[in-house]
């Protein structure tokens, strides 16, 4: 290839010089450089090629300047605008990208928050029923502190409230975590002053670098400081921490140096690289509380059991008293002659009010059967007359005083008397009994019948004997006839009580000595004689009837004078009583 062959077509030959010679000479001397310059110029004028070139070196360039804050500040606005525009356009990609990060972060935050809340709740519940809790509530009221805080302070063994990671050289705060973010003073300045105090103490006592201040104590707070080659870890602890906790801090600072040694060593004021150390620091936020003694639960259970037993006993006693009282009142209601109008209980005392028949059972006599003490029961009873059959009967017995052998019965308003009763009693009772409350009728028919039968026998056995052929009574028969008259009066009275009429046959007799024709008239006259004696006005219920038997019905069949005397007689025969009519006839 000749020199002319390599000359570029757009080169112009210089004026005043042999064109071919100059061009050739130039081509020979700087030809390659000229071609490189033209290629470079073409490359620089090509935007597409420039972009390609920049893209080739951009990653390496950014990597080289990753610690340069200027690059961060220069990129920040553009990146912020890009993110904003992207979110406005479609937030889903960014949400998808952040999901793996934000999800665990939210869960962790929620778990920590819930754990703290449950711990606080547990402590509050655990201590809410004890005597100490009452004392703490009073303290909370007096001091104005929340109860939960008072519980915490009284049950706290220790709690790491803050942990600061501080650059050892500058005293600048690298990262900070706290159990209660609300209670933090400016940690930046705390970090600085803490470093200054460490420097001050080290200078003052001229101790070696590694022997710097590692513990501060202020009131209830302790500050434990663990130092590494490039950073120190300061923990603010409330209470009395165990020695083992310092080991945990030492392990934490060692772990931080192991994993973040480069960042710590090259720290130039940018704290962003230390966001990732928060979990390690949060692990240092440990705490311990006094456990509530188990026996307090036993005591609580025992108290609860006692209370339950007391409540059960009280319920049992109350229900038992109520049952006994109700039983007593029911018994009063069932008792004849007692009417319960009201009853009430007032504490341990009882009262009942009502009506009482004087013949009814004494209400107080029922108390013992229901386990009630008379002193605790007040009864207010007004007297009245009950119509209960037993009481009507009792009242009849009390008033009529039936003699022995006589019994009274009462049913459906009818008072009945049976047995062998004196006629006077029957007569008196029949007059009084209908006046008794509840007695509509006095039925003495049985007693009357029994008594009348006896009276009739007495009348019929009365010997009424006459002298021979005469209507003159022998002496003894005058007295017998007088007794028969008295008996007949009694029978008459009973008949009137029973509203009956008593037929009485007066039958005359004669002995067989005289002619039969004359004995009939004689026996008739004898009967008439006796009727004359018995026909008195005070025997209205006795119907007299005279008959004559002559000598046909002898009392004795012998022929002696004694037998004949027995046949000179008048016999009395009481017939079956019949009902009287309305007029008593």
């Amino acid at each position: 290839m000749t020199e002319a062959a390599v000359r570029l077509p757009d080169e112009e030959p210089e004026t005043g010089s042999p064109p071919g010679a100059f061009a050739e000479l130039r081509t020979l001397i700087v030809g390659p450089e000229q071609r490189q310059l033209r290629a470079l110029q073409a490359r620089l004028n090509d935007p597409g090629r420039q972009a390609q070139d920049v893209s080739d070196v951009l990653p390496e360039a950014v990597l080289l300047r990753r610690r340069d804050p200027h690059l961060t500040r220069a990129l920040a606005p553009t990146i912020e605008e890009a993110i904003t525009a992207s979110v406005r356009k479609n937030p889903q990609p960014l949400a998808d990208a952040l999901f793996p990060v934000i999800g665990p972060a939210i869960r962790r935050a929620m778990a920590a928050s819930l754990s703290s809340m449950l711990e606080s709740l547990n402590r509050t519940v655990e201590y809410s029923l004890s005597w100490r809790a009452i004392k703490w509530r009073i303290t909370a009221l007096l001091t104005g502190r929340p109860f939960a805080e008072v519980v915490l302070l009284n049950t706290l063994v220790y709690r790491v409230e803050q942990v600061l990671l501080i650059d050892r050289r500058t005293g600048l705060l690298l990262q900070h975590v706290a159990s209660d973010p609300r209670a933090i003073q400016d940690p930046d300045m705390v970090s600085g002053m803490l470093t200054a105090i460490r420097d001050f103490s080290r200078d003052s006592f001229r101790v070696a670098e590694e022997d710097a201040l590692d513990t501060l104590r202020v009131g209830e707070l302790s500050i434990w400081i663990e130092q590494g080659p490039y950073a120190i870890l300061a923990a603010v602890i409330r209470g009395t921490p165990p020695r083992e906790l310092r080991v945990a801090f030492q392990e934490a600072i060692e772990r931080l140096h192991a994993f973040h040694g480069d960042a710590l060593q090259s720290f130039d004021g940018d704290t962003a690289p230390f966001d990732s150390v928060r979990p390690t620091l949060e692990d240092c936020l440990q705490s311990q509380y006094h456990q509530a003694p188990a026996r307090s639960f036993r005591r609580l259970w025992a108290i609860a059991a006692l209370v339950l037993v007391a409540i059960g006993a009280w319920l049992y006693v109350t229900l038992d008293r109520r049952a006994r009282w109700n039983g007593y009142v029911d018994a009063l209601r069932r008792e004849p002659g007692l009417v319960v109008l009201s009853d009430r209980r007032d504490g341990g005392r009882y009262a009942v009010r009502g009506l009482r028949d004087p013949l009814a059972r004494d209400p107080a006599s029922l108390l013992a059967a229901h386990g009630l003490v008379p002193d605790r029961v007040t009864g207010s009873w007004q007297l009245y007359q009950a119509l209960d059959p037993p009481l009507v009967l009792a009242r009849a017995r009390q008033l009529l005083r039936p003699p022995a052998g006589v019994s009274l019965q009462y049913a459906a308003g009818v008072l009945s008397a049976t047995g062998n009763a004196p006629a006077e009693w029957i007569v008196d009772s029949s007059r009084v009994a209908p006046a008794l409350p509840g007695v509509t009728r006095f039925d003495a028919s049985a007693a009357i019948a029994e008594r009348s039968s006896a009276l009739a026998d007495a009348i019929q056995s009365t010997p009424i004997l006459f002298e021979r052929g005469s209507t003159k009574l022998i002496a003894e028969s005058e007295r017998s006839l007088a007794r028969a008259l008295e008996t007949l009066r009694t029978l008459d009275a009973l008949a009137r009580v029973g509203q009956r009429r008593v037929p009485l046959e007066i039958r005359g007799h004669a002995d067989a000595d005289g002619p039969v024709e004359s004995n009939i008239p004689l026996s008739l006259r004898r009967a008439e004689f006796v009727r004359g004696v018995l026909a008195v006005p005070d025997l209205p219920a006795v119907d007299l009837r005279v008959t004559a038997a002559g000598s046909s019905d002898p009392a004795a069949t012998g022929a002696t004078e004694q037998d004949k005397q027995r046949n000179r007689r008048v016999s009395l025969r009481v017939g079956p009583a019949v009902a009287a009519d309305a007029s008593g006839r």
């Binding site: 961060t72 606005p77 420097d199």
Partner: protein
Amino acid sequence: MMQKKICMLGAFAVGKTSLVARYVRSVFSDRYLTTVGVKVDKKIVTLEDGGETTLMLWDLYGHDDFQTVRTSYLRGAAGYLLVADGTRQQTLEVARALQQTAHDVVGNVPFVLVLNKADLESEWQVDERALVRIAEQGWPIMRTSAKTGAGVEDAFSRLARDMAIA
């Protein structure tokens, strides 16, 4: 966020604490200065590029005949303010000495020489020629008044900017 430690250095009673008080709202008591010998404050500044930096201000007890600056407090400082009292010439000399001390501890980090009490112009004693010579050494010099607040913000901003580009 970036953090930087800066120290306030100067002779006794040149106005270091007053300058800090003008610049930030202190949390800790000034009693720390006479007990521990330092008080730490914080100020967040926004740089020209929009970035924010937290300045941790270590206000060191003033250097005098009875007490010297604890050099351990200087360790790790990213910059410092040398404060002199414009009405007392000798405080400028103390500032020069302290600059050497600081340089020995933290090396060649940004600093600003602050001539405080600029409001007391009639009592000004600092030799201007000495200032020129100091300026010729490359020291940034700024005049401030903690009393009026003049130049205080600028002095801190200047130091922050220098630290940012260092």
